[in-house]
């Protein structure tokens, strides 16, 4: 029924076309235009590949230099423990810390002997203990990432004749003797290098407690490559090319392109890598490291979405 109606329509249209076209002459051009090859004009330049504002990298939130070189020590947030005041009153380290080679916090009761809770200062002592100890009574660190250093280190440092002040600085009114807050690894590294002591990661750090490095598995020509082939020794907040030129993380593709030249060329042309936005206008480009983990660049397998419904399953 429908089909026959349409066939009649077709006949009608055909006849109309033969009769010399339609009457809609006063209108704009028909919606369906003629397929002709128009003039060629470029809409995007292949050199224009750099994102104006590249997406952020993890290093912005926690700069590598915080551990590796330079940088500022993070201020402590715990209440102050006035070491200097105590020393000025003639109280020796050993008076409070039982074993100076392995000092631990005295019990709160011990401090309360001089600073009973009801007296002036007593409240502050309690507040201090509340701030620096966790629920289990262990001292907690105001670190963002708690880097655990092997425990017998203290004995060994004392035995090797390292002055307390080498790490702790002069007794201050800070919350801890200094290294308990944010010791910069650079200080350890310098001293170890000067004294010709082993300074591999394992020397100081427990296995598996090296944030943010613990998740790094180098699976990227690891037989020929180490950290400092890409990361800059002097400034860990940048990378460097083979010739030593520093490269910010936002231009890491220059580093990758040293080995992966054809890929870099393809990426600049838009043949490799993901682009989003507009095919004819502003695009967002992703850098190599946005998709590929630079330490292990091969794509991880993915879980596929479910398959289509088989005809026999249709209900």
């Amino acid at each position: 029924m429908r089909t026959s109606a349409h066939l009649l329509t077709l006949l009608g249209i055909l006849a109309a076309a033969l009769a010399g076209g339609c009457g809609g002459h006063g209108h704009e051009a028909p919606y369906r235009g003629a397929l002709e090859v128009p003039a060629v004009f470029p809409k995007s330049a292949p050199d224009d590949v750099l994102p104006a504002e590249p997406p952020p990298f993890r290093t912005d939130a926690f700069p590598c230099s915080r551990c590796h070189a330079g940088g500022e020590e993070t201020p402590d947030t715990a209440p102050a423990m006035p070491h200097a005041q105590h020393l000025a009153k003639g109280i020796e380290c050993g008076d409070c810390h039982e074993d100076v080679t392995n000092p631990v916090l005295p019990d709160p009761e011990f401090c309360a002997e001089c600073h009973p809770p009801e007296k002036r200062g007593g409240e502050r002592v309690l507040a201090y203990f509340a701030a620096v100890t966790g629920e289990d009574g262990e001292i907690t660190f105001p670190h963002r990432w708690q880097v655990k250093v092997k425990s017998p280190a203290h004995d060994r440092h004392a035995a090797a004749g390292v002055e307390c002040s080498a790490c702790h600085g002069e007794p201050s009114n800070g919350p801890f003797a200094r290294p308990r807050s944010a010791v910069l690894m650079q200080r350890c590294m310098t001293c170890h290098t000067e004294r010709n002591v082993k300074n591999t990661c394992e020397t100081c750090h427990e296995e598996g407690t090296r944030p943010p490095h613990e998740q790094i598995v180098l699976h990227h020509a690891e037989q020929q490559r180490g950290c400092l082939d890409c990361h800059d020794r002097a400034n860990r907040d940048v990378l460097h090319l083979a010739n030593g030129t520093p490269v910010p993380f936002t231009e890491s593709y220059r580093l990758c392109g040293q080995c992966h030249g054809p890929r870099l060329r393809d990426w600049k042309l838009g043949l490799h890598g993901k682009r989003t936005g507009s095919w004819s206008g502003a695009k967002e480009y992703l850098l190599c490291a946005h998709c590929h983990n630079p330490h292990s660049p091969r794509f991880e397998p993915m879980t596929p979405l479910p398959p289509p419904v088989r005809p026999e399953e249709i209900r």
Partner: protein, 299 residues
């Protein structure tokens, strides 16, 4: 909505049967210009009014604000697509994005199977591109599976499309920017185009499509993702509602491995042109002389 199609058809049938008006060659004199005119023959003014009518209808039907575009093809644009088989890992994210963008039927009891415009084929690396041994129903914990590669197939937007030639009512045609489209209101559901298409890219609404209002994509195009009705054929339109606004198609945006390349074939600097000029590309079933606008390559 489906009423609209039926009305247009009924009125048209009556008018044509009456013969006089159509044969006189002046469609403007027909009783109702909307219901008697194919979308392809409407001028812009008529299309705009038709689109307004559609918007009103969808707003009522879905209780949501919708926008139906009628953006025509841009001069100097000829769309083409590239797909890197080295990088596609068969995760089907493109399929999902396509369904959500293009208002395909989600299927379900009484609504038949969900309609998907992209079919991802799993093939053996040993056999190479061998469509006789492809598996579209692969169901794996993780992809890519050892020894396999994946080849997504959707409408190839052929330069010499067999589907448009066989349509008895000219309800499907190739637009000037290369997109093969369907006038859903004109489609009679004969499925000739489906049998003509060598890529299985056309899909038929056997039942009333299931499109929950909250899943409706309100950004529509009259030739693209506006809701379809029972008894019509639908297919990939390169996301005409997106690409004619300058955006990449939804599958391109969704691909997590960046395997998809899209652009204007007439722009020498475009990604797709650079692809064709620099890589070895191949076409699916090139021997059929359909001249697809869809280029596969190994990155």
């Amino acid at each position: 909505m489906s009423d609209d199609g039926v009305t247009r058809r009924a009125v048209l049938g009556a008018a044509a049967a009456g013969a006089g008006l159509a044969l006189a060659g002046c469609r403007k004199q027909l009783v109702d210009e909307f219901v008697s005119t194919r979308l392809a023959e409407m001028d812009r003014d008529q299309v705009r009014r038709f689109v307004g009518e559609l918007e009103t209808r969808y707003r009522e039907q879905y209780g949501r604000d919708v926008h139906v575009a009628d953006t025509p093809a841009e001069e100097g644009v000829l769309f083409a697509y590239g797909l890197d088989l080295d990088r596609c890992n068969g995760n089907r994210k493109c399929v999902e994005a396509c369904v959500e963008e293009n208002n395909q039927s989600r299927g379900g009891t009484g609504h038949g199977a969900p309609i998907q415009w992209i079919t991802v084929l799993e093939m053996d690396k040993e056999r190479g591109v061998d469509l006789d041994h492809a598996n579209m129903y692969y169901d794996a914990e993780q992809v890519p599976r050892e020894g396999h590669f994946y080849l997504p197939v959707q409408c190839q937007h052929c330069d010499n499309p067999p589907c448009t030639k066989v349509c008895p009512v000219e309800a499907t045609w190739k637009e000037p920017d290369g997109i093969v489209v369907i006038d859903y209101d004109w489609c009679i559901g004969c499925r000739c185009c489906m049998s003509a298409c060598p890529y299985g890219a056309r899909h038929f609404n056997w039942t009333e499509p299931n499109l929950p209002a909250e899943q409706l994509n309100p950004e529509m195009h009259v030739l693209g993702n506006r809701p379809r009705m029972r008894g019509v054929v639908e297919k990939c339109t390169f996301c005409v509602q997106r690409t004619r606004r300058g955006l990449y198609p939804a599958c391109h945006e969704a691909c997590p491995t960046g395997a998809r390349v899209f652009g204007n074939l007439l722009d020498p600097a475009s990604e797709i042109r650079q692809l064709i000029e620099r890589k070895r590309v191949f076409l699916l079933k090139a021997e059929l002389n359909t001249r697809p606008s869809f280029f596969y390559f190994y990155g």
